[in-house]
Symmetry: C2
């Protein structure tokens, strides 16, 4: 990029942008009566990604999806992203072009446009993305709205992203049997191209036209256990989960053993599904309409999140989010 | 911070935030009929700041001010900031606390609140800030609205921030004469605590109640010359400047010589003043009402930005923004 010069790099990047670029800020309209939803995520090379696990196109997709997933968790519709990028001066243009292509691909699938950004020279690569969305006030989703006796539902399997990472890092050997090989691809896909669950939000809006006052939601970026603990703690309820109901990806237990599969499902993180606490009849309708969604437990009046084992004599386990991913651990 | 743990660090940071924190995104209202203005800046340790030039409190102020200045250049009123922060795990808490205090101080003076963020471990310190503001559509300011025959006005002196940096880096020796010493402090202040010029925007709104269709504006983050070149290029006009009218900080010529003073004034950058292209009668009223503001030249029908020297025989100089700060140079 040093050879191209800043103006040429910016000119190329502007081709990915929807809005007119060339002022100190971008001007956007918010649909009448809607609220703005804002969320930020930073991805750092060596911490959140590396060349081995995420080629630039996948990194771009994932960086956009991570932020869109937060918008989905708030019940919002995407408006756009700003991208604050730090890159070494010797970064080749194709790397940067592929990164922006990946971001654009994700936005074309799920909504929103690149509305601004900043590009800086720095020794280490990092991306700071801020996503903007809009939501009608009565359809906004919060973490603290769960009530005792509700059904905890998740939109998909958990542990697939962790399994994909293990395959990419060589921690898990690839499957040689062609009958089982497809799992590998789907797990790598789960890690590299997570899908923000706006499809779930659209179903939820249809099921609750009067509003979302008794629904709690969060995405599972930091793990399934973390999302359940956060929703329950902030809503001042407890929960009972059953290990038999954990949303394991098909085939994972056979490949890594049931203890590891359970651990990855609860604490692996980065599956970017949603956890919802719903009134039970709504949960039933929701699951009928969203393939792959599952019940993972029930909220309770008693505090604490209890994981009940299938084996009758096994002691219950109490979950805590501190076993999940910790940025400064 | 590694000792405190992520939850304790986040708990402390949340005390600086105005809004309720604890969901996947922050919800904000936009004043009815107004547009959203969005801008992003990334500051990287070793490129945009270092411990020697910016202690954490000043870094926080400056990081906020840089973004607010972009909002001012768009004619917008600040709503809030998101802060994407990358820090080594051994960063002491007081450093981070002071950074947030500096950000908060700037917002308390100039408007807006911290509405979200993300905190990541990384080897190198960087801050990615996205600022949100709001503006009535007819009061928004753009770079491409200048017309030939307008007066180019700037809100203050240029070169002071560069002089402050030179003092902080030891490139310029401190003044020992107590009569001249105050300049040093004001130049360091200009570098460490730039002031976003919302005061100028407020005067501009009073002078143009019917709207800003014939006003162009940009902030001078990348230098006075760059701002003039950008406004003229995007508006398809030229400009004539006179070296005698360059807005030098008082005392700078005596300290560094007139050639260096002129160079710093045109290309030093980071003064975060505004350049405005105004109809001449509005320019006259504006300058009367904003102390420190000055005429720097006139726009012309002929393209090119010509700097006319005071010495009658000296050749004119044609300015180009490529002599300014280049991120990938």
């Amino acid at each position: 990029m040093a050879d191209l010069g800043e103006h040429e790099v910016l000119r190329r990047l502007h081709q990915f942008c929807d809005s007119v670029v060339g002022d100190d800020g971008a001007i956007q309209s918010l649909p009448a009566g809607e609220r703005l939803v804002v969320t930020t995520d930073v991805l750092v090379d060596g911490v959140h990604f590396c060349d081995r696990t995420l080629p630039p196109n996948a990194l771009g997709w994932r960086a956009a999806a991570v932020n869109l997933s937060d918008l989905a968790a708030m019940g919002a519709t995407p408006m756009g992203l700003t991208i604050g990028l730090t890159l070494p001066a010797d970064t080749p243009w194709p790397w940067l072009g592929e990164l922006y292509q990946g971001i654009t691909d994700c936005l074309q699938h799920h909504g929103g446009a690149i509305i601004g950004g900043d590009l800086c020279r720095g020794e280490h690569r990092s991306l700071a993305i801020t996503a903007l969305g809009s939501v009608q006030p009565h359809q906004a989703l919060y973490r603290n709205r769960a009530q005792p006796g509700q059904t905890l539902v998740t939109t998909g399997a958990h542990g697939a992203s962790r399994a994909g990472l293990a395959l990419l890092l060589g921690e898990l050997a690839p499957e040689l049997d062609p009958h089982n090989g497809p799992d590998d691809q789907s797990w790598i896909q789960a890690h590299q191209r997570p899908v923000p669950r706006f499809d779930a939000i659209s179903i939820l809006r249809q099921l609750s036209p009067e509003g979302t006052a008794t629904i709690a939601a969060m995405d599972t970026s930091d793990g399934l256990a973390d999302a359940i603990v956060q929703i329950c703690t902030q809503s001042q309820v407890g929960a009972t989960l059953f290990s038999s109901q954990l949303p394991l990806p098909s085939g994972l237990g056979n490949r890594v053993g049931s203890a590891t599969a359970q651990n990855w499902s609860l604490y692996g993180g980065e599956d970017f599904e949603l956890v919802l606490s719903l009134p039970s009849d709504m949960a039933r309708d929701f699951i009928k309409r969203l393939p792959g969604s599952r019940v993972v437990g029930q909220t309770t009046l008693e505090p604490g999140i209890r994981l009940v084992d299938d084996v009758p004599q096994a002691p219950d386990v109490w979950l805590s989010h501190t076993q999940g991913y910790r940025h400064f651990a």
